[in-house]
């Protein structure tokens, strides 16, 4: 410990020396602005674009494109929304309030938790404002970042309007004034979607804005290819004998793996979409993502979130229990009633599987309450026995 501490201390003390050396070096190399010495010339600050997410409709590419960028001190990155999904760009650092664990940083580091309790209403949760709104405030959307603190774009789409901001957020620009490596992630897709910004001195080689765009597009193309192949492979249901001569059917809500563990692109679909069963059969839905299986006899579906003013005057984004809580009013499906698996995500008490038996012949449409607008719907056709 003490040796490392000492070495680090030596290094920190050295920072000044190094910076000084750096300045001398740059001066020698030609800070003058003359184009003659291309190697060490200070560059004009530039702006590069990083795309946030990708895919349309039921294809959801969960990455930043490109995932890693290397820029000069003084350059600006503009992140631009590139899909229908609600993403954030959130740079790692200390934050107020409760946290959840974070896969991409050292063990023990956290990111703002997804949900918070609602005072006085047991069982009801609200979205953590840190996950939803720009942090520390709307002014961050076009600001300078020096490292060390948590800053976040807020959700680009799919959220109530940010208080104090009279426009939708589709862009987030940060100018980096300090060399270093900065990890960031999407708070809506913690555990899946992350990126890196490496900020280097003006004499180091960095790609041009055009290079970065090409790299991002290549990564989008690679993931899109994976998606297409996945769709082709997943359109088969599986059945097994069940009790009393009936059949048990298995359907996936969303995909899990693209290939081994590649979680950076997901299909917002039921796989297969349409299943035909016989009266008496049972369907088992499996899921590892934030999906639901919802049969709703009276559309439109309940909203996912309700904007409410709490008794203490704060505004809360309530997770609508009607959309999120499991509902099974009878053991066998009844087309006149609402049936809802609730959140099938992995960490949920009811997560990853849900079961429903069918007796009434007919064609019954259902949807995922989270991704219905993206087109995540399916049908169960029940034939008479």
């Amino acid at each position: 410990m003490h040796l490392l501490g000492m070495a680090r201390l030596a290094f920190l003390s050295l920072a000044t020396t190094a910076a000084l050396g750096f300045a001398v070096l740059v001066a020698n190399g030609g800070l003058s602005g003359s184009a003659a010495t291309a190697s060490a010339a200070a560059q004009e600050p530039k702006t590069v674009t990083v795309l946030v997410g990708g895919g349309q409709d039921t294809v959801d590419l969960l990455s930043f494109f490109p995932r890693k960028v290397r820029i000069h001190v003084g350059d600006t990155i503009t992140w631009k929304q590139n899909s229908d999904a609600a993403h954030t760009v959130s740079l790692h650092g200390a934050f107020p309030g409760p946290g959840g664990a974070n896969l991409f940083f050292d063990p023990g580091t956290t990111v703002p938790g997804a949900n918070l309790p609602v005072p006085g209403r047991p069982g009801v949760t609200q979205l953590n404002p840190l996950q939803v709104y720009p942090f520390p405030g709307p002014e961050v959307l076009d600001s300078v970042y020096s490292g060390g603190q948590f800053v976040s774009s807020g959700r680009f789409v799919g959220t109530p309007p940010t208080p104090g901001l009279d426009r939708d957020v589709f862009e987030f620009s940060l100018t980096f004034d300090t060399p270093g490596t900065y990890e960031y992630l999407c708070l809506t897709h913690v555990g899946t979607m992350f990126g890196t910004v490496e900020v280097v001195g003006a004499t180091s080689d960095v790609p041009t804005a055009a290079d970065i765009e090409v790299e991002g597009q290549a990564q989008i193309a690679a993931l899109t290819n994976l998606t297409e192949r996945e769709k082709a492979q997943r359109d088969n249901s599986r059945s097994e004998p069940g009790p009393a001569g009936n059949t048990t059917w298995y359907v996936m809500a969303g995909n899990h793996f693209f290939q081994l563990g590649d979680l950076r692109a997901t299909l917002l679909e039921f796989l297969p979409r349409d299943v035909t069963v016989t009266a008496g059969d049972t369907i088992v839905w499996g899921s590892t993502g934030f999906h639901s299986v919802t049969f709703n006899p009276a559309p439109p579906p309940p909203p996912l979130n309700l904007l409410e003013t709490l008794p203490d005057g704060t505004q809360a984004i309530i997770n609508n229990p009607l959309a999120y809580d499991p509902v099974k009013p009878s053991a066998v499906y009844d087309p006149t009633k609402l049936f809802n698996s609730g959140n099938l995500a992995q960490a949920q008490p009811n997560g990853t599987a849900w079961t429903l038996a069918f007796e009434t012949p007919g064609v019954f449409e259902y949807y995922c309450a989270v991704h219905r607008e993206a087109g995540m719907v399916g049908t169960i056709t029940v034939l008479p026995r």
Binding site: A7, A10, G201, E240, F257, T288, Q346, G351
Partner: protein
């Protein structure tokens, strides 16, 4: 954090200047007792230990300890597996692994690692563990310079396969400064580490004692999550009404904490382990990783791997189709027959869930065919209706 990063970066960009600065500072400040150690000369190469995984019996921690390590060019790292599970140290950056591959979720898009399983030549429908993953492609003690594929092969204590002893450690010497990400090829989704190699003359590297201290701290954080995770998910089985006054019972095969640091702590257990139901009820197993629910009417239980020695090269680790393939000989459980879910949630799974209905009263023990040797088993007690 970023200040240190800056110092490091300054060092990397500056090379000689910083090293010189450090030498001056060290000489002035007295980093060592002798003046010679303070000069910018190569230090003695060192042998350092990193732990691959942790946990005994049904607890598996998928992480390297420490997760990141900084060493000098010329140093040798030895990964040692002291846990009860198998791990493989793999370097994939900038390389093309031999044979069939899959995408590396922790690498850059497009980066590949060996796929988990490959067909057994000449035996349709039979697969084996990919030898490119399970067996070393370079000798332990080799030198790594970046941009080549390296597999340590399976590291596990107290094991041999078809007479071939399985090592529990693997060493590489690093001769080229740079940053080298690596991962466990058996747990490519959530087990990774980084080796940062700095100049042979660098003073800013931790000692083995410091490395151990970081490793123990990281391990402590993860192991502290075992008991809360177990308690949260094993308290009681979830149940829901099913047809004909029966119940659906949900059991987890393995824990479900995911998408975060917790994903590095896995319980090879059925949660809850023991479930009591009534004749006519159905149990739904759900899993987020490679597990089975397997009822064996008469011992011994089939092994997951059937090793076959080969005249040349490593033995074939043939995957036993009794474990790999689903077996549901009847719609209702029959204690005299073999029932098997097959791997729940393997790559390409069409479901993360499996259902089985019970009519015969009694207590029935079952196992996970993949993790039976670790003690992953459970019971279903069926009461008369």
């Amino acid at each position: 954090m970023h200040l240190l990063g800056m110092a490091r970066l300054a060092f990397l960009s500056l090379g000689t200047t910083a090293a010189l600065g450090l030498a001056v500072l060290a000489a002035n400040g007295g980093l060592g007792s002798s003046a010679t150690t303070a000069s910018a000369q190569a230090q003695e190469p060192r042998d350092l230990i990193v732990l691959a995984g942790a946990g005994q019996d049904t607890v598996m921690v998928t992480a390297f300890f420490p997760q990141s390590i900084r060493i000098r060019a010329g140093d040798t790292l030895t990964w040692r597996n002291e846990s009860d599970q198998d791990h493989v140290v793999g370097f994939a950056q900038g390389s093309t692994p031999p044979g069939p591959t899959t995408s590396n979720v922790q690498g850059a898009p497009g980066e590949r690692i060996p796929s988990a399983n490959v067909p057994v030549p000449g035996r349709p429908g039979i697969t084996m563990s990919n030898p490119a993953r399970g067996f070393p492609n370079v000798e332990s003690g080799a030198t790594y310079s970046g941009n080549t594929f390296v597999s340590s092969g399976r590291l596990q204590k107290d094991l041999d396969w078809a007479g071939v002893p399985v090592p529990d450690s693997f060493s590489l010497t690093f001769d080229t400064p740079g940053t080298y990400p690596y991962l466990c090829l058996v747990h490519p989704e959530n087990m990774s580490g980084t080796v940062e190699v700095v100049a042979p003359s660098a003073a800013d590297v931790p000692s083995q004692a410091e490395i151990d201290a970081v490793a123990q701290a990281e391990m402590g954080l993860l192991l502290a999550r075992v008991e809360p995770g177990r308690a949260a998910q094993s308290a009681s089985a979830q149940n829901e009404p099913g047809p004909n006054n029966s119940q659906f019972w949900y059991v987890r095969a393995g824990n479900s904490e995911q998408g975060a640091v917790e994903a590095r702590v896995q319980l090879m257990e059925f949660l809850p382990r023991d479930v009591t139901i009534t004749a006519g009820d159905t149990v739904i197993w759900r899993a987020l990783s490679l597990h089975t629910a397997t009822f064996v009417p008469s011992p011994p239980s089939p092994a997951f791997f059937l090793p076959e020695a080969q005249p040349e090269g490593p033995p074939w680790m043939v995957r036993n189709n009794l474990i790999v393939e689903r077996a549901k000989p009847a719609g209702v459980f029959n204690p005299a027959q073999y029932f098997n879910s097959g791997p729940l949630n393997p790559p390409g799974a069409t479901s993360t869930a499996w259902g089985l209905t019970f009519d015969t009263p009694g207590t029935f023990e079952y196992i996970c065919g993949v993790h039976q040797e670790l003690g992953m088993k459970g019971t279903i007690t069926v009461l008369p209706r």
